[in-house]
């Protein structure tokens, strides 16, 4: 028998439990909102930590978790930005990067990640190519950053990229203005030094190499220990050789440097990477002659040549494709008139455009073929045949047309924009063997016994007089006039002479490394 007192107590206890449960559930309902934010922040930092260590797989997991599971937190946009950075800067997957960027701009348009998202959108536009439509899209995105977020620290970055884009579009004054705004308004930003690099390149394009050298020297004066200072030194050295020393002396001087083994034979190519590594390809393989510590060469068994990808990294040209230093190989197959495709097996030359497309010259094919980054056939770039080709920063392509006895320059679509006859008024290149562009766009041509450098820009007179003002871009088809900057050749008995150069590389400082078949060695000219 339950007495009344016990019943009352029981009821009291029960109601207390119910009230506590209700209170707990209310508190529990409130807790996730606060807890989510903290968890999301911690997971974002976890992802960043993994990324710093190079463990991108785990980093991506954390970023995805934040973006997907904690989409309402204040750091979801940051996670998407990290995802976009990974895809664009680490693995160059522009499609995934675009998805992440678009997610930021649609879901978090006023977040603190939005300015950098616009910068990335601009860069993604550039990665599609340097056609006018791509450049305009890029500029529009960069412009949005300082229009919509004038106080954001992404503004100097956007101005820097805008400047580079204007340069690609050959709007040199706009490029200089953009770079100038970075250094004027953001003199201590991380983009300031690179702005001077950009301005230097523009000034060369305007035919003012000496002013360009002064501009580049500012980097060394203000940021002497920066990576940009090292780049500036290389570029100043290059310009000094062509436009100061080369005015009154031979631009190239043979050095006593010895690279590679003596009695070198069967050399098929030389290449210089943007990091300054020099590589030699023989029929037996690819060997670094002078490379940064830890640098690897593509493991091509029987290379037929060397090329640089759009990132300036070494690529081995093999008979049927290209192979990177990391071992990634891309094979190419071209469609046949009879239907179907046939793998290419006699590739002689290759070069990668800024959007990742490959230009491939196969000896069995009629002309220069274009393939996508992954090897998918695109089209015939041009019907020309060439043993060598080179691509510059604005996707102009130079080839050696032996039949036409010219160096022909094409734009990114395959249209001819310029020609350099083998013989000119002040030069003679009877046997051009190789081609290379430097970082400014000067074209170096290796003849068997000479090196000639041509410039698509106005060349200052020997007196150093200022060249005429740059004309506004003309309407109609684009043409580029290359003029000789300097030619180097040495008398036969001169130790600096070479007689049967078959391959060369031009490093970032404009030094030339050539292989003389007769001397059977690599000769270095600085």
């Amino acid at each position: 028998m339950i007495d009344q007192g016990t019943t009352r107590m029981t009821r009291r206890i029960a109601s207390t439990i119910v009230a506590s449960a209700a209170l707990t559930s209310v508190l529990w309902a409130q807790a996730p909102a606060t807890g989510n934010e903290d968890v999301a922040k911690r997971q974002l930092e976890s992802g960043r930590s993994f990324a710093r260590q190079g463990n991108y797989t785990e980093a991506l997991k954390d970023f995805r978790a934040v973006a997907d599971t904690h989409a309402s937190t204040s750091v979801a946009d940051n996670a998407l930005l990290e995802i976009a950075r990974y895809y664009l800067d680490v693995i160059n997957d522009t499609k995934q990067a675009t998805t992440a960027v678009e997610a930021i701009l649609t879901k978090y348009p006023t977040s603190d990640s939005a300015p950098d998202a616009y910068v990335m959108a601009g860069r993604l536009a550039l990665s599609r190519g340097h056609q006018p439509v791509d450049l305009e899209a890029a500029i529009a995105n960069f412009d949005r950053v300082f229009r919509l977020f004038p106080n954001s620290d992404a503004v100097p970055r956007s101005l820097l990229y805008a400047g580079e884009t204007h340069w690609y579009a050959r709007r040199y004054d706009d490029a200089l203005a953009s770079f100038g705004r970075v250094t004027a308004d953001y003199p201590t930003s991380a983009s300031a030094a690179d702005s001077y690099l950009g301005a230097g390149r523009v000034l060369v394009s305007l035919g003012r190499p000496v002013l360009a050298m002064e501009e580049l020297q500012q980097i060394r004066n203000r940021w002497p220990n920066s990576p940009a200072a090292a780049i500036a030194l290389s570029r100043i050295t290059l310009l000094n050789r062509l436009f100061v020393r080369g005015r009154s002396q031979a631009a190239f001087t043979l050095t006593t440097e010895t690279l590679g083994p003596p009695k070198l034979q069967n050399v098929v190519a030389l290449a210089a990477t943007t990091s300054g590594g020099i590589y030699l390809a023989t029929e037996m393989g690819i060997t670094p002659l002078s490379a940064p510590a830890g640098a690897k060469a593509p493991a091509s068994a029987r290379p037929r040549g060397l090329a640089l990808d759009s990132g300036g990294n070494l690529v081995g040209i093999e008979s049927n494709g290209v192979r990177s230093a990391s071992g990634e190989a891309v094979a190419f197959s071209a469609p046949q008139s009879s239907g179907g495709t046939k793998p290419l097996v006699k590739i002689d030359a290759a070069a990668q455009m800024s959007n990742g497309d490959w230009l491939i010259m196969d000896d069995d094919e009629k002309g220069l073929q274009r393939f996508s980054r992954t090897g998918t056939y695109v089209n015939v770039f041009n019907a020309t045949k060439t043993p060598r080709l080179a691509v510059n920063a604005i996707d102009d392509v130079a080839v050696i047309d032996r039949d036409g006895k010219t160096i022909t320059i094409f734009d990114a679509t395959g249209k001819v924009v310029g020609r350099i006859p083998f013989k000119g008024a002040s030069y003679d290149l009877p046997n051009p063997e190789d081609l290379a562009f430097d970082s400014f766009g000067h074209l170096y041509v290796l003849d068997r016994a000479a090196i000639a450098v041509f410039s698509p820009y106005p060349v200052p007179a020997a007196t150093g007089a200022t060249p005429p003002a740059t004309p506004a871009p003309a309407s109609g088809p684009r043409t580029v006039n290359y003029s000789l900057v300097t030619q180097f050749t040495a008398p036969e008995k001169d130790p600096a002479a070479f007689r049967k150069a078959t391959a060369f590389a031009v490093d970032p400082s404009g030094a030339v490394f050539l292989y003389d078949e007769r001397a059977q060695r690599v000769m270095v000219y600085r």
Partner: protein
Amino acid sequence: MIVKARRLLSLALVSAIAAGAATRLVARSAPSAQSGPQAGTLDLLFDQGKRLFDAFQYEEAAQLFDRLINAMAVTGQTQRPDLLVQAYEMRARSRFSLGDSAAAERDFSALLAIKPDFRLAAGVSPRVVAVFEGVRKITVGQIALSMNPPGDLQIDGRAYTASPTPNMVDMTAGDHQVSVLRPGFRPVTQKVTVTAGAVSPLALTLERVSANLEVVSIPEGVEVLLDGKSLGTTPKGTDANGVSAPLMLSDLPLGAHKLELKRDCYVGIERTITLAAADLRTEPLRLTPSTALVSIQSSQPTAAVFVDGAARGQAPTDVTVCAGSHLIEVRGAKGRFIDRRDWKTGDNATLTADLRSAFPIVVTKASTDAPAPQLRTNVERALAPAKRVMVYAPADAELQAALRDETVPSDWLVAPASETGASVAGLPREVTRELGRRLATKLGAQGVAAISAGPEPYSVRIALLAAGSAEPDVITINTADPASQARAAELLGGALPPIMRPSIETAVVDVAGTPGAVVVRAGGAGAKAGLTPGDTIVAAGGRPVASVADLRARIAAIATAPSDLALDVKNLSGVTRKVTVTVAMLADTIPMRDPSVLYNRALLDLSEAIASAPNAAAGSAARLNLAIVDMRLGNWDDALNALKDVQLPDGPGVSAGTIAYLVGLCQEATGRTAEAQASFAKAAAATQSRLWSDGPLVAPLAQAKGRR
């Protein structure tokens, strides 16, 4: 019979007259019947009695003296013992004359009880004297009284003085109570029995139980401490030499004590004194003044000097201060110095007050975690090491006086700007400028500061607004992070970028593999010295040059220009020659948006630089840079006015094109579009001009402006 009758009649008559007189006197003078006869009445009675006595009317006299004695007894008028004694004497003599010797003896006995040492005056009847002496012999004895140390004592409540030498004191026979009460001695209470006709010795020796100490000092007003306890200050004396009056310290325990004398601005004295069984008086203890002489110099002449808030003239000045800690403040038109210094006695110090631009805190936006006073203290302490700027909290009264009649928003200057660039709750620029100027003037400062607690713990936003500026510089510090504080102090105190640089007007570059600085453009002084493109400078001033940095360092070390600099130069052929180049001092400009520059401080520094420019070129450079700072702070008209007076030649670096571009910016900002276009066009034509010596080219910037 008739004589007796006549005598009785006279007695009655006299008695009546005396009674009547006494009554009238009593009635006239006494406020009530109960208070008894007044003193004057008693004297009258005595006089009457004396006249009756002298008139041989002894009976009447006796009666009168009866009444007098009774009246004094009734009313307790024992304040007149002398009168009572006389009354007793006269009654006794009257009674003796009436043949009542017994009564006379009783009166003499009563008299001696009052005054044991009474003696009859000469001329009194020998028979009376004999009676008196007879009574005295059986009534009075003597005490041979001596006391060591001498002093006062009381016997039966009556004061006596005793010395170590016995002194005879008449005392009635019987027991008497002796008491001695003197500071520093054990109290004495004892009984002495006096035998009539005999001498009773009473030799008292006082026992010292404590001491008295009298302290005398020079000067007066000195605090006296005994064994650490303050016991007073020495009073002012009358001595013209400044000797104080003695300070009596009573009832001090015997033994050794530490005596200290202290007074501000004097060196304290410390002594050990031993108090023995004797009072002690110190000789005048002289304190030596404890002062220091400080010579106060100032970086700004005629700055006012304050010591502990009191004005002490203008710098340079010598001030004498007490040894110890003092707050020194020097206020000049262009800055302020505040510091607390400690000086020791005899110091002869020089204090050079480097005046710093003063920014008093006028707005404090506190938080619950950081109340306003704590916030201000933290900021003052954090920024104290800054060399050129002083941020401080003014006295509350001073601040309130300055803010009276002003409307200052609670977050003035420290409201955070939004991402879109619009400041939150800000005042219009002109209002900010004028308000800042007024407040700075009222507070005698060079600008004002505002602080607000930041979102992070211990973080503080500090806004500095110079007088005349419309836009503050804002820095954020963490007051708990020494590194953050050090950075802020460095930012506040760092020197401005140079506004003039020595230059050889020649462009040089580094070339890989070529030790030295390679000439790419020879201009001005370099061209005059014969430098040509391609030359490599391998030594300067006799020291090797391995790079452009080396050459820049050699040139930067030249303090005055023009100066000659010897160069070793190698041409393209490798041939070396020596040239001498005349280094010129050229104007340079500070960037308009450099986060390492505090533009509000620069406004003050450059205004001063203009005023103190040693030559026209330096003044011109200062004006040019002041214009840039004005532009940065939104003072476009001021900038334009300053630029009008700056002339630079055409050429590379900071030159005419630079001025044209800056003028264009000012004109653009003030709506003078057409003039701006013309200026930009001029700047666009100056293809080598730069915004600052290693800054961007102005031509492209001007062209972009022109296109817009």
